[in-house]
């Protein structure tokens, strides 16, 4: 990355953050219910699941790929986790298994993409259907519900008055932001997404790092499944439908370029928050659910338009 592109990144981020603040200010003006501590807590909690998935998605998109399987992986991890929990296994074993299922799905994605050389769109589209089917077969279509209090604490509990999903989300973004900005994994991910050929020629083990990126995304889907199952006290094989699109939207609103090589975690967190705040505000204002979808779609289009306009200027 050059200096100028770094500075450009900060500018873009400022734009999205200002968008979020202005959105909040507008909602605070429109409805007295928006700006309360409990409502803002709700928004952040409601954002957590999408944000955690979007962190993995950001990594994948920066590497020049895409992962359409995340929503189905949430379902598969969730039902495996749920069946172990209700089957009397310990919390730690069940959690480890749920997360491992996520990582394993990511590994399959990574191997298909880096070693079998399938286009990411196709490989993960296939895996989206494979994992959804497996989740349905595994449960015979039935939700698994009724979990123990210690497990449910992961979604309903609080530490120092901060809800657990929010803590998990902040933890994920802390680690992911650090990894992306300060570690070899992060630098190589940008390099691969920017120019894969050049990265390979300069000695980056492209296959290894590309695979790693999908494994991380899968693992994070597993983590999202943990939060989702604990929140609803149920793991559903049909959970997580279309979550991939929400995650992609959060990343894109946050300035991640679908062309690869550009983006960062702070932007994605703000992007996910914009979507969460928007949904919350539209509920509070009692806007028809038909219009809500339209508005969210328009926000995505506006965000990408801004992104493209900025890029043209920076060239």
């Amino acid at each position: 990355m050059t200096r100028s592109s770094l500075r450009f990144d900060y500018g873009r981020e400022f734009g999205t953050a200002a968008g979020l603040l202005l959105l909040c200010a507008t909602l605070a003006f429109l409805t007295p219910h928006f700006l309360s501590v409990s409502n803002l807590m709700n928004v952040v909690q409601q954002t957590a699941i999408n944000a955690i998935i979007a962190a993995g998605m950001t990594l994948v998109i920066i590497s020049g790929g895409i992962d359409l399987s995340v929503g189905s992986v949430v379902a598969l991890s969730g039902v495996v986790l749920g069946s172990l929990l209700t089957g009397g296994h310990s919390l730690s074993v069940s959690l480890a298994a749920g997360l491992a299922v996520g990582a394993l799905c990511g590994l399959v994605n990574g191997v298909l993409i880096s070693f079998a050389r399938l286009p990411p769109f196709i490989a993960t589209l296939g895996m989206m259907s494979v994992t959804r089917g497996l989740a349905l077969v595994y449960t015979q279509g039935r939700p698994i519900s009724g979990f123990s209090e210690p497990f449910r604490f992961l979604a309903t509990g609080e530490l120092l008055r901060v809800p657990m999903p929010v803590l998990l989300m902040l933890g994920v973004f802390g680690v992911a932001g650090f990894s992306l900005g300060w570690t070899k994994l992060g630098r190589y991910t940008y390099a691969i997404g920017g120019n894969e050929q050049a990265a390979r020629l300069s000695g980056v083990n492209v296959r290894l790092y590309k695979t790693a990126v999908y494994v991380i995304a899968g693992w994070l889907s597993g983590l999202a499944a943990v939060v989702l199952s604990a929140r609803l006290n149920s793991a559903q094989p049909i959970a997580g439908m279309m979550y991939e699109l929400d995650a992609i939207a959060a990343a894109v609103i946050g300035g991640t370029s679908l062309m690869g090589g550009e983006g960062n975690m702070r932007g994605t967190l703000v992007g996910a928050l914009i979507m969460g705040v928007l949904r919350n505000g539209l509920n509070l204002l009692d806007v028809s659910s038909y219009i809500q979808q339209t508005i969210i779609g328009m926000v995505i289009i506006v965000a990408v338009f801004v992104d493209l306009t900025l890029k043209k200027r920076s060239v």
Binding site: G11, R12, F14, G15, T16, A18, G19, L22, L23, T26, L27, L30, H33, F34, S36, S38, N39, N42, Q46, I49, G141, R142, P143, S145, G146, T156, L228, R231, L232, N233, S234, Q236, I238, A239, M241, M242, I274, R279, N280, G281, L282, N283, L284, L285, D286, V287, S288, S289, Y290, I291, I295, M298, V299, V302, A303, F305, V306, T309, L310, R313
Partner: protein
């Protein structure tokens, strides 16, 4: 930097546009109580009818009614978000058609904690999950779906004169309504020695899946004599598949809900019958009973809404 303003300004324009768009609704009498109706989705005419009934009752009684629904019928997490958000608006009562019979429980508990009465409409809450979660609901307003299934079963047995092969299109597994219809239906047809259920497949409540599933069934069972679909969307898909196989008239199709499209099909003769529920009546009852609860009256634990079979001969 100038362009960074695009996103926030765009959002602002969007939100204020919507605000002005939904104003007329908000100018309804602010003095009366506020009741929220949270539905599964508004993509299904059944719930659109329910909304109409509720709105008419709300206007008649001077109630401020907030209607919200998730984009997809199966999205239990989104429904929970909507309820959380509406609790912030401090409505006086919440009527819910649960997207998941067990998954709704955490949201009910949240409403209980906020001291807001919860009325369940159309789809029952799982009684055990509710008592395990420590939640309370005021009443259940809805059809007797088991009886509805029996009515459909009895009609088909009569139409087929006790002889024939039946395919069943199921809704999403684990949905209380679908399960109850199925149970009532099987109760009747399984007693008939001449009737065989040759296929019982899930078509996810959707029209296109009803089409595809029945098309496949017809491939393997060209001698099929009847179809029972657990809702009209799947039944309407099924009659298209029957028509495509040029078997209209040979295969008797019975649906559930008696939506407008289904009634048209029954009039045309492509569909034999449909068990009518009365969603408008449910919407009306939901608002009126919620109002009674707000005024401190005690209401029955169960408020059944009658079901009836609609055929060409009825009216």
């Amino acid at each position: 930097m100038r362009y960074h303003l695009l996103l926030p300004v765009g959002l602002l324009i969007l939100v204020s546009g919507v605000w002005s768009g939904c104003r007329p609704k908000d100018q309804a009498p602010e003095a009366g109580p506020a009741i929220a109706l949270v539905m599964k989705t508004l993509n299904n005419p059944f719930f659109v009818d329910m909304e109409r009934g509720a709105r008419a009752a709300a206007q008649h009684h001077g109630v401020k009614l907030l209607v919200q629904a998730a984009e997809r019928e199966v999205d239990v997490e989104k429904q929970m978000q909507i309820i959380e958000n509406l609790l912030e608006r401090k409505v006086d009562a919440i009527c819910v058609t649960p997207s998941g019979s067990k998954e709704i429980v955490p949201a009910i508990v949240k409403a209980n904690r906020a001291g807001i009465p919860v009325l369940i409409v159309d789809t029952r809450v799982d009684a055990r999950a509710l008592s395990d979660g420590g939640g309370r609901t005021v009443t259940f307003i809805g059809s007797d779906n088991i009886e509805g299934g029996r009515i459909a079963g009895r009609y088909l047995v009569e139409r087929l004169k006790g002889q024939g092969k039946i395919a069943v299109l199921e809704g999403i597994p684990g949905h209380e309504t679908g399960d109850a219809r199925l149970k009532g239906f099987r109760e009747v047809v399984d007693r008939e020695p001449g009737i065989k259920v040759v296929a019982s497949q899930n078509a996810n409540w959707e029209r296109d899946q009803g089409y595809n599933v029945l098309q496949n069934v017809l491939q393997s069972r060209p001698d099929l004599s009847a179809v029972f679909a657990c809702n009209d969307l799947m039944a309407l898909g099924a009659i298209e598949a029957v028509a495509a196989a040029q078997k209209t008239g040979q295969v008797v199709v019975v649906g559930f809900d008696a939506t407008g499209d289904a009634r048209d099909a029954i009039r045309k003769g492509t569909m034999a019958g449909s068990v009518a529920q009365h969603p408008e009546e449910m919407g009306r009852l939901a608002v009126e009973q919620a109002l009674a609860v707000i005024h401190g009256q005690t209401i029955p634990k169960e408020i059944p809404v009658p079901v009836e079979l609609i055929t060409k001969d009825s009216r």
